[in-house]
Amino acid sequence: MAGPESLMSWKKALIPLACVPVIILLAYGFRTDPKAIPSPLVRQPAPGFRMAVYDAGELSLETLKGKPAVLNFWASWCYPACYEEAPLLESTWRKYKDQGLMLVGVDIQDKEANAREFMRRFDFTFPNGPDPGSKISIDYGVYGVPETFFIDRQGRITYKHVGALTPALMEAQVQAILKGN
């Protein structure tokens, strides 16, 4: 039988013990990036889509079959992030299109005139098209712009990036889908 003194010391130990789970929870919370929300689509087959391309007919996921692809969601009103990464998108397209890379831009919640001005400004030569009703955006679980999905030859999403792309990240992810890793 525990005496009254040992009972009191047990009770005193209970107070700091109760703080332990709270401290663990806080430590876990502070170590995670609050902006990083994992996409359930990564490592899953890319959702199918069909999109009217500005001045170039139609494009669908079936068109991209067997090709590594980069799907970028952008808007002309998305400043500065979309403006920062736009030259990188075009240069990547020019660099890798002969190696079979497909780069597709999905323009969301935008006005056509503004979108065309954006594409003219950055001299976009890769296919871009609007997303009326945000159907493709919702199907890809897009939160905002810019967001970029890297899709391998098997049509699986290998990586999702939120925010403006950096040259190093773009290079690494494009190399990965070109090699089929």
Binding site: A18, S134, G141, Y143
Partner: protein, 182 residues
């Protein structure tokens, strides 16, 4: 115009002037009545105005989905463009006969469980549902312990009566009660 109205009002029943005035006027009134009574009844079906049952279902489902570009707002309550498109998609899926669970599962497959305003009651999420009640119980137990300690301290704090002092008081009271002449 005013004189014409006055003439209509003042003309006796069956007067030629009234008959003449009744033709187009009567037709106009009936046309207006027809427009007022019949067209509103027909219009909803013709213009595809919202179906209350469908809209109730859409609102119920959308109110359980998080607007992903807002701070703590549901898809039903958010004025953002993306939330509006999500509501439209929910409406389309309800029209296709999808159940609430199927629609929720679709959004979860795209956005993860984050898109649900209430986390499902399973696995690790049970902690979120259970911890508040556990905290209330622990808090109540803590309050009980503190209250009991205070009560015990008050009882202990009351000064014990010294037996010698009590005996002295008793003797003095007896002496005081004793008749003074004896």
């Amino acid at each position: 115009m005013g004189s014409q109205q006055a003439a209509w009002a003042g003309s006796p029943a069956g007067a030629p002037g009234r008959r003449h005035g009744r033709g187009p006027g009567f037709a106009l009134v009936w046309a207006l009545v027809w427009i007022g009574l019949v067209i509103p009844g027909v219009a909803p079906a013709a213009s595809g105005s919202p179906n209350p049952d469908l809209e109730d279902q859409v609102r119920e489902i959308a109110s359980g989905l998080r607007c992903v570009v807002c701070q703590n707002l549901s898809v039903a309550d958010s004025p953002s463009d993306l939330a509006k498109e999500m509501r439209n998609l929910v409406r389309e899926l309800v029209r296709q006969g999808k159940s609430r669970e199927e629609i929720q599962a679709y959004f979860v497959s795209r956005y993860g469980e984050f898109v649900l305003l209430s986390p499902p009651k399973r696995g690790f999420n049970l902690l979120v549902w259970g911890l508040p009640f556990l905290a209330i119980l622990l808090g109540a137990w803590g309050v009980y312990l503190v209250a009991r300690r205070w009560t015990e301290q008050r009882e202990e704090a009351e000064p014990a009566v010294d037996p010698a002092y009590a005996e002295r008081v008793r003797r003095e009271l007896q002496e005081r009660e004793r008749p003074s002449g004896s």
